[in-house]
Symmetry: C3
Subunit: 273 residues, 3 copies
């Protein structure tokens, strides 16, 4: 069911503008190529608008933000909104520092976002809202488990409604929701947390999937999340004695490179609540 | 015939200053080490001149440029010119935005470059010239194929004459020319386009080959282009079931690590027109 | 004997703030995850203090420094000192340019450092002192070999006393000293020098080991140095025909991923002088 959204990425080969952190940017670029999209990176305010204009979608990731790149994020985001391009926000470290929280919240207030993807802690921070917005009740557990699932699903839906976009909370169980429906996704492996940037890579892919599937945003985001988790499972099955997190990183990108709609449909494990 | 230029790199171990984008910079550093050169990176204007002064050559790549690093590019470029060091320009994204086009054109106007390497679209953009220079006829096809080869060769030679440097247009067929001679190179594999930064890596290697072979600049650039393409072929032959673009990236750098003049001479496929 | 300091890292999973160069930052993040620590990167002055405050230790690496990130280094360093967090300095390129030398020297003068790690050339530069400090005699050979070992050990101890921190000089033989004792470490392989960033990765690990072992700083640093060298040996033993420096990089991180106190104790090769 979700495979068709992956196939659209390979068919349309969307060009995605990424303003992302310098820690994991190479892996983001390679996983975008692996899934059939094309990456371009530009964070200089004077350059970012024009680069966004030639792309189909925008991925904003605030890891290693600085004042110059924050300006680039606003400039690119406004331009993408003006042109109707999908925009995704990855609020890396929201809650960990004032600058990160305020930047994420400011982008959320200023831009029309199509998706926000983070871990539960980052999303809870944003759910509290800014001085100009009223937040939803973020009194939810700090990890999404089978026990906390029901309240977590309700929280993610409420957050999606609050911010008017798809909300994706990724962790041991991944939740991808709009205000009405939530994909509860059980792909992936815990060892993915031992690689830097699997979240950043997923955000890049989600932006590509959104760009290729503008009429089915929730399904597109869910497909990207399932694909990333499934890639983690396939990559793990190819690990040999002595392989560790660096090789695992390569194998995950390799697994996306070989994935298509059919393999995604066979391996995706989700329910809709 | 071209192998001797590779052997010179291993013999002289040139130190190359790279002002390059943060997306692919790690791969550029590792491929420079793989071919026998040493990389150093510095983009702060106050630092760049002195770093250039202790190096033998300079590689300027404008991907992820910003106003600060553009100043660093000019400062380092002027110093390298003053010292007679080879300078290569990789005009990433020229034509895609005003800042990129103007920066590439400005560097081309201001500096004495030894080589310019880009894809056909970037080089066509530069061929149109700036307000202060007159461009050559860039009415050439958007891809170099067997059908468009003759006009493409003429175009690359004319561009080399216009800018007074070696010109390298890389793609399915690679062209490396000065105003009189053009190496038409048929090494490489299409899958290299699914890895981020093979072009950036090649630019770094070309700067190293130029630095080690100052008396044979055209041959040095052609040797680097053949080596990169041949590495793509060798790496592909080592790919196993399930390997994708991330592993391919590693294997290409590994192939350069094991290459020398003799293996290059055996595998290089080119003609001179 | 040193294994227990590695086990402490896995047990405590320290969060380490890294202000480090964009060339090797991804490998630094992955090796920190591999050894059981967690990395976070932030170099914006307005952000760096708060990020340091949520971490346990700080790793400052001046490769690809710029004026903005230098401010971030001072801000984070002062905050870490205030909070009593361990701080490590990797003075990449000290001696190669005025900005690098002055920045490293300034950080050394201003901050209370727990460890300084560099190659012999960088440490000799710092040993000469600034206008406000008096340096030790740096008339020592430019490489640490069996022949120059005695004078090198004396030099590193004197430098450690001068700067009031652990001093680590890494190369063919690694020396890790305080003013009284010097670990002479003979792990590692020469091929590690053909990978970009093994030094940066080691600095990240040393910061993690210091953070997890605040009562045994010298031993913690020596354990990290032995672990990195041993990882280079284990990784080399897993190299296959055609593998080169890019694969070697992955295998070294993989080897750290599988290492623990027991394997470190079996493989560590050092004496104390």
């Amino acid at each position: 069911m979700l495979g068709i959204y992956f196939d659209e990425v390979r068919k349309k080969a969307p060009l995605v503008h990424n303003i992302t952190n310098y820690v994991t940017v190479n892996d983001v670029a390679n996983i975008l190529l692996a899934c059939g999209a094309s990456p371009i990176m530009s964070d200089e305010p004077e350059d970012a608008e024009e680069i966004t204009a030639i792309c189909g979608g925008l991925n904003i990731n605030i890891g290693t933000l600085n004042k110059r790149t924050i300006s680039g994020m606003y400039a690119a985001g406004c331009k993408a909104n003006e042109l109707g391009h999908p925009v995704l926000l990855d609020p890396v470290g929201a809650g960990a520092s004032t600058l990160r929280t305020n930047t994420a919240q400011g982008l959320l207030d200023m831009l029309k976002l199509d998706a926000v993807r983070g871990n539960i802690s980052e999303i809870k921070t944003l759910a509290q809202g800014s001085t100009s917005t009223r937040g939803v009740d973020a009194d939810v557990a700090d990890a999404v488990t089978e026990e906390s699932l029901e309240s977590a699903v309700a929280f993610v839906k409420a957050f999606a409604k609050q911010v008017g976009s798809i909300a994706a909370v990724t962790g041991a169980i991944d939740l991808v929701a709009d205000e009405n429906r939530c994909f509860v996704i059980r792909n992936g492996r815990p060892e993915m947390g031992k690689i830097t940037g699997t979240g950043c890579q997923l955000s890049g892919m989600m932006a590509a999937f959104l760009t290729a599937n503008p009429e089915h945003k929730l399904e597109a985001c869910a497909a990207a999340v399932c694909a990333m988790g499934l890639a983690g499972e396939i990559a793990w099955s190819r690990m040999q004695d002595g392989d560790g997190n660096s090789t695992y990183r390569n194998r995950i990108i390799d697994a996306i490179y070989h994935m298509n709609g059919e393999t995604l449909d066979k391996g995706a494990r989700f329910e809709i609540r």
